[in-house]
């Protein structure tokens, strides 16, 4: 078990280093620099552009720039944005809580919608509930989130004036307004994730329901709901947990389009703006943060597998 964990941690660290190198080289491979982005609307003198390039260490050789950055990361200083001048840690500190809250709400909606409908579709296979759940899942999967978002805004904000169309209010400032601003984006994203969860829950449960131990449970005279919820569901959730972990990672790395449509200044918007402005320090920091988060979530999911499935637990123990 300890060896397994150490091995996983080692792989995770290596992944993080490789990811940081790929991002570092990748952003510099794209034409233009922070100085170029600044010349879009202002005629900077060559001297000023050279000063900007020097100020952000961009005149140094690439390996030196990389090592400088790694040194900064290890000391917790991620540099300043050439666009806003603000420390990158402040920018991420402002954006991340918004994306985190959106992710949590999205997953909550997805779990509440996806798991029950998945169970219902499995135990009512071939009946109206199954067809309805599948149709809803198909809708959730096939409707582009930006279109769905705009339709909801037109309906709930423009027509009924029920929810605010865009913007963000911090939970600490006004909890009710915060939820009002978050509800629509979380619902838009949540329906897409719920569709995936529904289908995974349905197929996982159908497969488990054919297992011998489920037949045994039925033979013992247990009610169908007890068989499903107590015996079958837990094992079928291993694949669902994988999907939850993956979706959580994707959502945390920023859902740029949804954030843009709803005017949420989260990680997605920060990333897009930073890429357009060639804000190297911010792009690198965001990429490193999201890579680390995805790795941590994957590690956590490994633990969840062990809790959910005795087979995984046993395989992890020393022989």
């Amino acid at each position: 078990m300890r060896g397994y964990l150490l091995r996983r941690l080692g792989i995770s660290l290596l992944t993080l280093v490789i990811a940081s190198m790929v991002v570092f080289i990748g952003v510099r491979a794209v034409p233009g620099s922070p100085a170029t982005a600044l010349t879009g609307n202002t005629n900077f003198s060559p001297a000023a552009l050279a000063a900007i390039t020097r100020e952000y260490g961009l005149a140094k050789p690439l390996p030196v720039q990389y090592l400088d950055w790694v040194g900064q990361v290890l000391t917790g200083h991620l540099g300043a944005s050439p666009v806003t001048g603000m420390p990158v840690t402040t920018e991420i500190g402002n954006a991340f809580p918004i994306t985190f809250e959106l992710t949590v709400l999205t997953m909550l909606i997805a779990l509440l919608l996806g798991i029950p409908t998945g169970i219902l579709a499995a135990i009512r296979r071939g009946r109206t509930a199954d067809y309805t759940s599948n149709a809803l899942a198909l809708f959730g999967l096939s409707i582009p989130s930006f279109w769905f978002a705009i339709m909801l805004i037109l309906l709930l904000s423009v027509h009924f004036a029920f929810l605010p169309a865009s913007g963000f209010v911090s939970f600490s400032v006004d909890p009710a307004q915060n939820l009002a601003h978050m509800l629509m984006p979380a619902f838009v994203l949540g329906t897409g994730v719920a569709a995936v969860l529904m289908r995974q829950t349905r197929s996982g449960l159908l497969e488990t329901m054919r297992a011998d131990y489920v037949r045994t449970a039925r033979a013992k005279g247990l009610s169908e709901w007890v068989v499903v919820l107590k015996h079958a569901l837990r094992n079928s959730l291993v694949t669902v947990a994988t999907v939850i972990g993956l979706q959580f990672g994707i959502l945390l790395s920023g859902v740029a389009v949804t954030e843009e449509v709803f005017g949420l200044p989260g990680i997605g918007q920060l990333t897009i703006n930073s890429v357009f402005q060639r804000d190297y320090p911010t792009i690198q920091a965001v990429a490193l943060l999201t890579a680390a988060l995805v790795i941590i979530i994957n590690l956590l999911m490994d633990f969840v597998y062990m809790v959910l499935s005795p087979k995984v637990r046993l395989a992890g123990e020393p022989g």
Partner: protein, 488 residues
């Protein structure tokens, strides 16, 4: 009151800020020595009168308004003007240094009078001081913040900076020190909305009170003009849209001019043929719902320096003849870089289709803006659809676009027929003389075709009828010091 703007401003430091939207934010919290009125004329703002120019255009004397205070209560003095201008000139990363290049020194005459000493006459200087170069920063805040002035910028204006909680949001609060009276609006928020469809739905739902310049798509603006619940306003800008051709920027803007690897660079007849194949009216009508003003020179009809040019009409027969005369076999394959975005791509596709009739086979290449800019500066392009937001003085809309060594010069060094009148106009203060010189330069540009000018962009804004007192000037700026919301 929330105002939708199309992008996020860069760091809010008047010395370094370089975005178009930054000007809109500054117009409400950082006034300049001079401003622009609705007739596009330079008028006093923090200065009490237009500058007195003496010593053959080498000395500018500026008198300041009396009793003006910065938003931190510090009095506005000549010393403060001197400090700001010297910072603009000497800060290594200054975006203003190029504009103030000819100002050799700034001296204080008394507490309300400052003098600018020039190394050579610079006719655009007064209009330059009506933009970000003329913003006066609080010396108290400068001493406190230093290079971090952007974190808490303090100037003179109807609103004071309050916070920038994210890149996309700037929050201002009304100033009680403002000499023009306390604004009605308590909190003014500038919200960056990069997607025009979102801007439109935000306006309809009331999430934003004003859709600022560039926020709405032309077709959405067109819909709002027919909606009696909204006030719409459009003004022709000083800017333009055109196709820039790589003629002599073969090695990049920071290297000496060299012919580009491009048939249009070596055959002026082909440039003329391309210009003749285009129908400006159709492009404006299809891609922009006729919202722009067609034209074939860089100087806008909104400018006092405008003289109507005789634009050659679309002439496919003549264009074909010129292509034949050039001796270049057809089809002539070219790549046109257009910034990504629906309207930009539409424009490029229309241009390519029109040019096809004359023998050009143009491939439209949508490219992310900064990448396109980098390639254009490096000379790695053939044709580039790019616009310019425009400045009040025509010098800033012409010279940097034909001067090798300028970051805006994508076409390469212009010929003497263009550069000589531009240089003369820069050193002459007489408006009639300058106007004639710019007309001469524009006619030369029309012959040279380094940039094929298509039309002058229009700035459009919209807001519900419940919003009143919005002032919108032809330089594309919103002034909200007198704005308010009616009870309805």
């Amino acid at each position: 009151m929330t105002v939708g703007i199309p992008n996020a401003p860069t760091a809010l430091d008047p010395s370094t800020e370089g975005s178009l939207v930054g000007r809109i934010v500054f117009a409400n919290m950082c006034l300049s020595l001079y401003g622009i009125n609705s007739q596009m004329a330079v008028v006093p703002s923090l200065a009490s009168a237009l500058p007195t120019v003496s010593d053959g255009g080498l000395l500018y004397t500026i008198h300041l308004r009396k009793g003006v205070k910065f938003n931190d209560g510090t009095p506005l003095t000549a010393q403060a003007v001197q400090t700001s201008l010297e910072r603009d000139k000497t800060l290594p990363t200054s975006a203003r240094a190029a504009n103030l290049k000819l100002v050799s020194s700034v001296s204080v005459v008394n507490s309300t009078t400052v003098q600018l000493h020039l190394s050579a006459p610079d006719a655009p200087l007064t209009s330059i001081l009506a933009a970000r170069s003329g913003i006066v920063m609080s010396p108290t805040a400068l001493a406190r913040e230093g290079a971090n002035f952007f974190e808490d910028p303090v100037c003179v204006g109807p609103f004071a900076f309050q916070a920038r909680p994210s890149l996309d949001e700037v929050i201002l609060t009304r100033s009680h020190y403002y000499f023009g009276g306390t604004p009605h609006i308590q909190t003014l928020i500038f919200q960056a909305i990069t997607d025009p469809a979102t801007c439109y739905s935000d306006l309809l739902s009331g999430a934003i009170s004003v859709a600022g310049p560039g926020c709405l798509a032309p077709n959405d603006y067109s819909l709002l003009t027919k909606n009696s619940s909204y006030t719409t306003s459009q003004l022709t800008s000083n800017g333009y849209e055109g196709i820039t051709i790589n003629v002599s920027n073969g090695n990049g803007w920071q290297k000496p001019a060299a012919a580009a690897n491009n048939p249009l660079a070596t055959h002026p007849l082909l440039r003329e043929a391309l210009a003749l194949s285009l129908n400006r009216q159709t492009i404006n009508s299809v891609a922009y719902q006729n919202s722009n003003v067609v034209g074939c020179g860089p100087i806008s009809p909104a400018s006092v320096f405008y003289t109507k040019l005789s634009c050659p009409a679309t002439n496919i027969t003549e264009a074909k003849k010129l292509v034949q005369e050039s001796g270049v076999p057809t089809p002539i394959n070219l790549t046109l870089v257009v910034p990504t975005g629906t309207v930009n791509v539409q424009q490029g596709e229309i241009e390519a289709t029109q040019a096809q009739a004359a023998g050009f086979n143009i491939t439209v290449q949508p490219t992310e803006f900064t990448s396109a800019l980098a390639n254009a500066q490096a000379g790695n392009y053939q044709l580039f659809d790019i616009g310019w937001s425009g400045r009040v003085d025509p010098d800033q809309n012409t010279s940097p676009f034909y001067t090798q060594g300028s970051a805006f010069d994508y076409t390469g060094q212009g010929p003497n027929s263009i550069m000589n009148p531009l240089a003369q106009a820069k050193s002459t203060t007489n408006i009639a003389t300058r106007k004639a010189l710019y007309y001469s330069a524009e006619k030369a540009m029309l012959q040279y075709n380094g940039i094929i000018y298509l039309f002058h962009l229009t700035n459009q804004i919209a807001y519900p009828k419940s919003v009143v007192g919005v002032s919108f000037t032809p330089d594309g700026l919103l002034h909200l010091g007198s704005a308010g919301l009616t009870a309805s």
